[in-house]
Amino acid sequence: MVQIDKKKSADGTLHVTIAGKIDERFDPAVVLCEARGKVVMHLAGVRSISSLGVRAFEQFVQALPEDVVLVHISPAIASQLTMIPNLVGARAVVESAKLPFTCPACGAEKSHSVPFRAGASVEHAPKCACGGYMELDGLPEQYLPA
């Protein structure tokens, strides 16, 4: 089940928050009917996406009228974007990914947003409460561009 929330900012940008699971039942009509200009999609809450959801998401992005910005994409979305680099085409810009980090010193875990580019998980690694730097809990090539 997916939840879609939307809010229009003062400059006319439509901010869309999608959370839950994207699968073959994903229906973005509530967004498409309102999208007239720039759309910013907040995707940190997308916990999973199936193979059919990947196609539905691609079709959704392609159907949006203007430039699209994806922010704080979840690991589920990030892993699909690295597998299929053309998934969102040239019209969508992926700004950031919210990825899992773990502290090698104390084992603490947290999600942290980094720019969606190569090396970002190291350059922007968060600091742990214990004082050490956290590390990406995964292979960078699974979640970030090469």
């Binding site: 699971k21 699968d23 073959e24 039942r25 916990r47 999973s48 199936s50 193979s51 059919l52 990947v54 196609r55 691609e58 690991p75 589920a76 892993s79 699909q80 597998m83 299929i84 680099p85 053309n86 998934l87 899992p100 773990t102 090396g119 190291v122 690694a125 730097y133 590390e135 990406l136 809990d137 995964g138 292979l139 960078p140 699974q142």
Partner: protein, 342 residues
Amino acid sequence: MHAAKRTRAAALVSKHGPTCRRVAQSLGAAGVHVRATPFPSELPLDGLEDVVALLVDLDVSPGEPPAMLVAEARQAYRGVPILATAGVDSRARLLDALCESDVHHVIPKRGALTLPRGGMPVIGTLEGPDEHDLFAAIRRLLEGPESPGVSPYLLSGAPVHEVSVRTSDDKDGALEAIIGFAESMGLAGEKLRRVELSAEELLMNALYDAPRNSDGSPRNANLDRRLAVSLGSDETVKMRYGCDGQTLAVAVADPFGSLSKQAVTERLRKVREGIPRPNAGVAGAGLGLVMTYSVANQLIFAVAPGRLTEVTAVLHVGGSNRAAQERGTAVHFYVGGEGVGE
């Protein structure tokens, strides 16, 4: 006087000490004596009888196309199942071996490339292929249908749960069951996502891609995946799953036996060649197997043509998500009477 018991044997081509030791230990535990040579040109090995498996370490010649290495070894042992392992560029080279030659089993070495903080790749300590993976693979080759489903991949005694699926509603219920099971163990985040993705894609394949009409033609493959489907009462799909605290395995078996190695390798080639876009239309997106491969640590296909297909995903859930990803993905394809569950 007892007649001498014939010892089963395996030939190994490798010059990597840890690989030779792990293979010898794992296969030895399964009653298979291993002899190794660093050179495929030295095959067949003198005095080696009743050879039940041939293992080829692709790292003996990392610059040589895997298909050529395999072909050279194959000349010495025709008709013997081949297992390939690699640590150098393992993902690409093992996929090459699986897709471009008659290798039916690929197992990556443990401890391959690691990326320390700073991003510079270094070759860590290559440890050879995982002993449990090797042991399960060779046992299944030797012992056939005695240990079907997920049991070969879990510690003995791990409870196994079973759900029957015939309809799309059943599929949703099965997914809820395995997700609930994973959550009850405290799995969350990426570990939970991997479990859900694997189970869902295997179930969708069983409901839509696997079913055949009486004439062998695909029945549901071109259906809109948003439409509910229902299988016959004698076409029940079974999902089995279990976890031993470190490894979670899910197996989905359908009674059609329609999967071929070619169909699997056609899809896995996308991993090597890059996936341009999902398939258009309303039928399958052509991504399910690739996505499952990307999250599983083992993918096992067992097919009795026309009778049974069982696909098992094995996921390491103990330790960190990164540790699981670093293990890579082993792939095994069993056909006919070779290790297929009843």
